[in-house]
Symmetry: C2
Subunit: 163 residues, 2 copies
């Protein structure tokens, strides 16, 4: 298997092995994410994105976060988050609350029902992450993985992984 590149476009050739690593990473990630999402959907009727939102809120002071901040943490566009919170609100898992200091701003607040739902779903989520990911790697590999991720992902500074 060789990689053909239009002449003179890339400074340095990429070996097919390097490319294969990248491709495999993509596949592994997609596969794991799908299993995780399917499990959450079947057992708790909760999409992965919804689970992420609930998690982020539950870990924030007063269980609340500005829509904007929330969008950043959940890797969703602003509009995407608006609709997702719409749905979560419809299901009673989240409330919207005005921001006193800035009339433009809205807080998304985790409700008690939301907290319960999250607590119910979390074992499923963690079991999935274990089975698909953590259990397969040993402690050393996990450390290596963390080190690589710190290089790959210019973190928002407040969340650096210890080597």
């Amino acid at each position: 298997m060789t990689v053909t590149v239009a002449a003179g476009e890339s400074r340095e050739a990429i070996s097919s092995q390097e490319l294969a690593v990248w491709r495999m990473l993509q596949r592994a990630q997609v596969r794991i994410t799908r299993v995780l999402e399917a499990d959450l959907l079947v057992e708790h009727d909760l999409a992965l994105a919804s689970y992420d939102v609930l998690t982020q809120l539950s870990e924030s002071p007063d269980r609340r976060l500005r829509m904007n901040d929330l969008a950043d943490r959940v890797l969703l566009s602003r509009s995407g988050l608006t609709r997702l919170v719409d749905r979560l609100q419809r299901d009673g898992l989240v409330e919207r609350e005005a921001c006193a200091s800035d009339a433009r701003g809205l807080f998304a607040v985790l409700t008690d029902d939301g907290a319960v739902r999250l607590a119910e779903a979390t074992p499923t989520y963690l079991r999935g992450v274990r089975a698909q990911f953590l259990d397969i790697l040993d402690a050393g590999e996990l450390r290596q993985c963390a080190a690589m991720l710190n290089k790959l992902f210019p973190a928002p500074a407040d969340e650096e992984l210890p080597a």
Copy 2:
């Protein structure tokens, strides 16, 4: 930061650091994929999924693949692939061709135009993979990464990465 788990549901607690590795992996992957897709879209008006299809076809004997096999390699549902190939065919990058030995089957075949388009887009793609991923890691890390992926992804046997 501590992870709260409903009592007695998971055999063994997951440390917050382990969980953080997983979360970061998700984010890094999403971020890289988005940049890659955006680049391809801007420079060549080609979605990442389309690029993957063209690539798979170009690497297959006679530049053709059965729809089913193609769907597996591209990580897309059958229906998703049907529509995607519809679009690629509309744009003249791919043709559908009947299968002689099995009247149910269809081949997706890369056209010359498709090959050209792929060749044009490939430098962009490779540059992106380099910039977002390969250049950031050194050779040793890449080897570690490959080793982990081989454990994580039960590959179709024909595509194992060398340690």
